[in-house]
């Protein structure tokens, strides 16, 4: 661990982490630019970096951008990331009362505390999960991959989980293109040599989250109102102390939600916000939704604690906790780092370096966030018509940089157009990424498991209790999704009847 810290604290890595954190905060603060988009675009750029530099930089971006969403949520009432919606509900009300600076200060402190709780729990639990994960065989890994895609679909599509699952399934189909991993048979390549290597997931990621976002938001005309004054930013200590139990509870909750494959920071932040309201004192409950610091603390602590949580399945099982973690996984894969149950055997010391890099990034985020609020306010006043086009060449370079292939740039373009079409048809894109990343894992393990079960009975298959439990979990996700569709269709029908009356 000490070696990991010494490495993370070398001036060059410290500078890259700080650069990543600052870039992440600014990126997350700009409406329309999400954490996953930042991570996706920067994978390509990290291709030219060494492994340690790339990890420090990407973790810095991840930590910074999750917090960054709070700045636009509080100041201009537009959450840059989905997990900042509760922060926006409370923070903007406080900003309208002239307490925007203090609300942001509380958000920064809460994010720091949340990040810290997430990292502590990650360090505590990862040895346990790694030991447990060594029992996971092909059958279990296959079901874990399926759960990851399905949960991401359920969480991303809200009232219509079917669309989320379809998106995840389409992602899987994209990943099947190329040489099959067992027999090296070309699948769906149509004789195109460039497709034999498969479709670059980095190009897909950049297209879906970068270009699609440009196509979606640049032609829209509306611009947010920019606040002229932010006010005092540093929160008083008594306020921090008063809400520390709520912060601790939300941090633990955020970490555990993050550890569920497919469940992202948005689920953590909304759940912590809701539980916080139920457990708040009556006078505090009155303030909920009208500018409550406690509500803000609950949401912000949970979404940053989610970073540590999402690292648990990512590092221990190779199953990303959310789309941003999937992008990090993609970056690690580019550096030939194969994460999963054998990470400590395959890459000794790496896990400790990742802990150290996360801790350093969290501390730097705390310091940089206070310094960057002013510049972010200035950036909000930049016309979107100037800002968004500047991302276009970054998308092109990012897609090109991995394999120096213009074919990948065309893939990025196709993915961008598909991503835009997804928004037209109201399909979520995050499950596609999980589908693309997890499909090879699912494919290989599924066929290997069938080979193992070749002459075994159904009873034997069901006696693999972890696999059976995971199968039941998939069934539960399907039933829960079906109920959700039924409930939202009924509420739509009732709304329609009311409108008709």
């Amino acid at each position: 661990m000490i070696d990991g810290f010494l490495l993370a604290l070398t001036p060059s890595l410290l500078a890259m982490t700080l650069a990543g954190v600052c870039l992440g905060i600014i990126w997350g603060a700009l409406p329309g630019l999400s954490t996953t988009m930042a991570m996706g675009l920067l994978i390509g750029l990290s291709a030219g970096m060494s492994q340690d530099v790339a990890i420090s930089f990407m973790l810095g971006v991840y930590t910074g951008s999750v917090f960054g969403g709070a700045i636009s949520a509080v100041l201009i009432n537009i959450p840059g990331t989905p997990d900042s919606v509760p922060t926006m509900i409370e923070g903007h009300q406080l900003a309208q009362k002239g307490e925007g600076g203090q609300a942001l200060g509380m958000a920064i402190a809460s994010s720091f505390i949340g990040g810290g709780i997430g990292i502590i729990l990650l360090i505590m639990f990862i040895p346990l999960i790694l030991t447990f994960a060594l029992n996971f065989k092909s059958w279990e890994m296959f079901w874990l991959a399926v759960i990851g895609i399905m949960v991401a679909g359920t969480m991303a599509a809200g009232s219509m989980p079917l669309k989320g699952w379809i998106a995840g399934w389409l992602g899987m189909l994209v990943a099947f293109v190329g040489l099959d991993s067992i027999h090296a048979v070309p699948r769906f390549t149509f004789g195109t040599f460039a497709l034999f290597d498969g479709i670059s997931y980095v190009a897909v990621l950049i297209g879906l989250f970068g270009l699609a976002e440009i196509l979606r938001t640049l032609p829209a005309k509306d611009m947010p109102t920019i606040p002229s004054k932010v006010g005092r930013v540093f929160p008083p200590f008594r306020l921090l102390a008063r809400y520390s139990p709520a912060a601790a509870r939300s941090g633990i909750l955020g970490t555990f939600i993050g550890a569920i494959p497919g469940a992202g920071a948005n689920v953590a932040s909304f759940l912590a916000y809701d539980i916080g309201r139920r457990r708040a004192k009556p006078e505090e409950q009155e303030r909920w939704g009208k500018g409550s610091y406690q509500a803000l603390v609950c949401a912000e602590t949970a979404n940053n604690a989610n970073i540590g949580g999402s690292m648990l399945p990512t590092l221990a099982l190779g199953i990303p906790g959310n789309a941003a973690a999937a992008a990090l996984l993609a970056a690690l894969t580019l550096k030939n780092v194969v994460v999963g149950p054998t990470i400590e055997i395959d890459h000794p010391g790496l896990i400790y370096f990742i802990y150290a890099a996360l801790i350093v990034a969290n501390i730097l985020m705390y310091m940089a966030a206070f310094a960057l609020i002013g510049p972010c306010v200035k950036l909000f006043s930049l016309p979107r018509g100037i800002l968004m086009p500047l991302i276009l060449p970054v998308c092109v370079i990012g897609a090109y940089a991995v394999k120096l292939s213009i074919f990948d740039v065309w893939i990025m373009f196709a993915a961008g157009v598909v991503g835009w079409l997804f928004s037209v048809f109201k399909f979520p894109v995050a499950p596609v990424v999980l589908g693309v990343i997890l499909a090879p894992l699912a494919d290989e393990n599924f066929r290997r498991a069938l080979l193992i079960f070749e002459d075994k009975t159904i009873g034997f298959v069901l006696s693999q209790w972890i696999g059976t439990f995971l199968m039941l979990a998939v069934l539960f996700v399907v039933i829960e999704g079906a109920l959700r569709v039924y409930r939202s269709a009924r509420s739509l029908k009732q709304g329609n009847e009311h409108a008709g009356a």
């Binding site: 809200g158 219509m160 027999h183 879906l208 032609p219 916000y273 018509g385 276009l392 080979l451």
Partner: protein, 189 residues
Amino acid sequence: MSNPDQPEIKFEGEEAGTGFASPALDLIASIILIAIAVAVMAASVALPMPGAIHTAPGLLPFIVAASLLLMALGLGASSLVRRRASIYMPALLADRDIPTDLRSLLLACAVAVYIAALHILAFQQNFSIFGTSLKLSAFEPATILTLTTIIHVSWRGPIWITAVVSITWTAILSLVFQLVFRIPLPGSF
């Protein structure tokens, strides 16, 4: 969870507005998905099978496509039910802003032209400034032209500001990627 007095939440990001589309749009989506699923199922069956069926390269793609077909049928059925019950905007593009969508399509065309320019007009000119060797490729002129056009159309500010922004940004990217990241740029060899 949220206060009923709250103004409508406006979220910007990749998951904004996911869920039910108009029934007609969902129906079109389901038809496209059914076509994709059937095509993948057929292509999976046609794949060679070097070993047993358990390890067939087309096995999981077939299962995934078959379950996609079921989901697409579910989506189509739900859209038909909602259409029959006149739930949520029966018109095809009633919830779309057509001029904005057309601008998005035009922008996509501009991006396609930009990538095609990088692809077709690729060249490389080596030169040196203060002892530092640099490369000029199709990336620089193509990016400057594309950015100037897109910014001018979307922002409509003075053209000289647009040009300065485009040239400066392209120069920054070109120098950073050549000298710091040492990654060759698209449009070069």
